[in-house]
């Protein structure tokens, strides 16, 4: 075990290795490590932000859903009301129409009856004249007795 030049040789080699390590090994590895650290930190921050955004969006969508439901409820209520109105109105119309029809029919019937009565009256007048002719055996001058006949017919 001799102490010799190897000490100096080893010291020189050591110095060179340390310098090389310091210049060409340590900085790139450290840079990569730090960059990855930053990336991970950024990623975590982004995911945090995304989670918060998601929460907000969920809240918003819930809110909108609630509003839409409310709106729909109002619409349905309005529609129901309107429908009730329409039904009511058409019922009224129908009733009026029916009333009108009935009145018309009544008027027509009345008119028919009047006509029929007039016709019957004329018929009866003719029959009366014919009967009177048979009874009298003479012809009644219709033109002379027309005044009387009309009076008769009016009495019927």
């Amino acid at each position: 075990m001799n102490i010799n030049l190897t000490i100096i040789g080893q010291a020189i080699a050591f110095f060179i290795f340390v310098v090389f390590c310091m210049k060409y090994v340590w900085p790139p590895v450290m840079a990569a490590l730090q960059e990855r650290q930053k990336k991970i930190a950024d990623g975590l921050a982004a995911s945090d932000r995304a989670a918060r955004d998601l929460e907000l969006a969920q809240e918003k969508s819930a809110q909108e859903l609630r509003e839409a439901k409310q709106q729909a409820a109002t619409l349905i209520e309005q529609a129901n009301k309107r429908a009730a109105q329409i039904v009511e109105a058409s019922k009224e119309d129908a009733r009026k129409e029916g009333q009108k029809l009935i009145e018309q029919a009544k008027a027509e019937i009345e008119q028919e009856r009047n006509q029929t009565r007039d016709a019957l009256r004329a018929e009866v007048a003719a029959l009366a004249i014919a009967g009177a002719e048979k009874i009298l055996e003479t012809s009644v001058d219709a033109s002379k007795n027309s005044e009387m006949l009309e009076k008769l017919a009016a009495e019927l």
Binding site: N4, L5, T6, Q10, A13, F17, A32, L33, R36
Partner: protein, 290 residues
Amino acid sequence: MAGSASEYIQHHLQNLTYGQLPAEYVRADGTVLSESTWTLAQTAKEAGDMGFWAIHVDSMGWAIGLGVLFLFLFRMAAKRATSGIPGGLQNFVEVMVEFVDNSVKETFHGRNKVIAPLALTIFCWVFLMNLMDLVPVDFLPQLFHMAGLDYMKVVPTTDVNVTLGMSLSVFALIIYYSLKVKGVGGFMGELTLHPFSSDNLFLKILLVPVNFLLEGVSLIAKPISLALRLFGNLYAGELIFILIALLPLWAQWTLSVPWAIFHILVITLQAFIFMMLTIVYLSMAHEDSH
């Protein structure tokens, strides 16, 4: 595996040494050198005679090779590093980098661009060098023996030169940052005015040598303990592997397997301790608490 047990052990603990032998040196094979020669040592005695101006080729080779392997792998991952989904290698590298970064941040609160890469280099490099301890002790030396190299110690951290080389570099950084952060006066004050201090100026001056002795010893002890802790652990571990290798073949696995499994813990722990202590020492150098 010729020779006695002690020869086997000594052979295993001998580095492949390249250095200068003086003129008229009688070499192990009997030849006499006519002039001083740079050569590979053939025996432990030759390696010792080379003195300080010799180098452990095997320790340096393995250390540099493993260091390059570490930097190659990490550089590959660093070049392809993306902030997207990381691949397998990048994942591993990121785990290591984050682990070291956290260790540094827990201990060191100043701003210094050097300490974290320094700690990463220390941890990975020392770990890889320690890891060589788990390669069977005779495996690589035998391969190199066949290639013509007689000595081959494959675990660089069992060479005290290697651990000292690193710890002294750390020591130099401690001194440098102490001077830079506290200034020369501040650093000298830290060495001489603590732990004993007094309001009385005369007493204060009297206490300077005592403080300097205490603080100086504790300062010098830092790199020495740093180097010897790592070296001692790995050297002992290697020695035990060598001893186990001396057992009969059928008995070896009963000891080497548990020891290897335990050693996985040791090599990781030692690499971690070396790194942590470096961080602690450097953060102490940065603290201007006194």
